[in-house]
Symmetry: C2
Subunit: 193 residues, 2 copies
DNA sequence: GTTTAAACTTGATTTATGTCAAGTTGATTT
DNA sequence: AAATCAACTTGACATAAATCAAGTTTAAAC
């Protein structure tokens, strides 16, 4: 159950056998089915979820009822509403499974306790968050700088797996464009080949 | 010189006198004039900069020569190209001073050393990065979900100081819209009052 | 204090993208 | 395999925002 997890963690920091054992105790496994919610708007996000298998998405819904994709997370990625998780405020996000998923959950109090008891995990999350900032910044720059077509090209270059694995309408939402526009962009680009 | 710095750090973690003294040794002060560069595209970002006084901006320039604002940092904020700083790759950003600024700089190696020698600073940066992720996520959601007018209204609500302190054309760029559009939005909104 | 340059505003026009609607393809369920 | 539903495509049209250009205000430089 912890295979993907520890291979990910060991990618960033060194963990002793004892530390691994201790870290394990803070997590509990959970399986969720396709379309099942992990978090619904209005509820407090009480866990960080690590994806061992499957695929999750987080999104919010605006006044017009339109969904806006915030993140996707598959094997080796984390998923949560960090704002709600850290501040204990009700979430404005939904999180659900695009593909049936196996997760490792850690609660708010266990997260804090783990970081204090296993300082190397404090380091792991500092590095993880660092990387997250960098990738968010790139997505943001693309979002404010590029046309719809450029945004799509940029995404295929920086995240080809996402294009392959995520349904097109959700990719469109992730880019902040309509499914129709994305469909036309793809047609235009394949024509050009 | 470290007044703003330690008030910021103490806001997030507890520091002993000894730790404070040690932390100070890793930083060197620097003043830069208005319009002076701290970093230019193509160079490696070798320092994190903490702003004690003044105002910095980071931006990139696209093929058409258009500047896209990435961040602003005034008293109490950090500035860097994190990607370049962490990976040692040449930066794609420019960083310069909008207002004359007093900075505290820490180098890549000193940063790593400080985090290892003063674990509470590891914690500080984990928390700092956490908060950064949340604010970037909000900006991103607004960017992909909202119209130009809604983006501007959202910014006035979440970051009123930015609107007051940053020249309008830079605010427009920060929002990913043209100065003309921002000017028209402001006119429309003041009319409505 | 006058000159010069930069920032901001306003108007006319163009363009990219959104919206609405209908059709097609593909997937899921019975 | 047929039926049902959702995903994707395509076309016609509407609209928000960009572009281009001129004017005005404000700030900087001499």
């Amino acid at each position: 159950m912890f295979e993907v997890f520890f291979s990910q963690v060991k990618d960033k920091v060194l963990l002793s056998e004892a530390e691994q054992k201790l870290v394990k105790t803070f997590f509990s496994p959970k399986k969720i089915r396709k379309k099942q919610y992990l978090l619904q708007e209005g509820n407090i996000c009480r866990h960080l979820a690590f994806v061992e298998k499957g695929l999750l998405r987080s999104y919010n819904v605006d006044e017009k009822g339109i969904e806006h994709m915030i993140h996707f997370a598959w094997e080796g990625w984390w998923m949560a509403d960090m704002l709600s998780f850290l501040s204990n405020e009700p979430s404005t996000y939904h999180i659900d499974a695009i593909e049936e998923a196996e997760l490792l959950l850690i609660s708010q109090t266990d997260f804090e306790e783990m970081l204090l008891k296993v300082p190397v995990m404090e380091r792991y999350f500092r590095i993880l968050f660092q990387n997250n900032i960098i990738s968010k910044e790139r997505r943001l720059i693309s979002s404010i700088s590029n046309s719809a077509e450029e945004k799509y090209i940029h995404l295929t270059a920086t995240n080809p797996e996402l294009i392959k694995r995520i349904p097109q309408q959700l990719v469109a939402s992730y880019l902040g464009i309509t499914p129709e526009t994305l469909s036309r962009i793809k047609k235009k680009l394949t024509k050009g080949v």
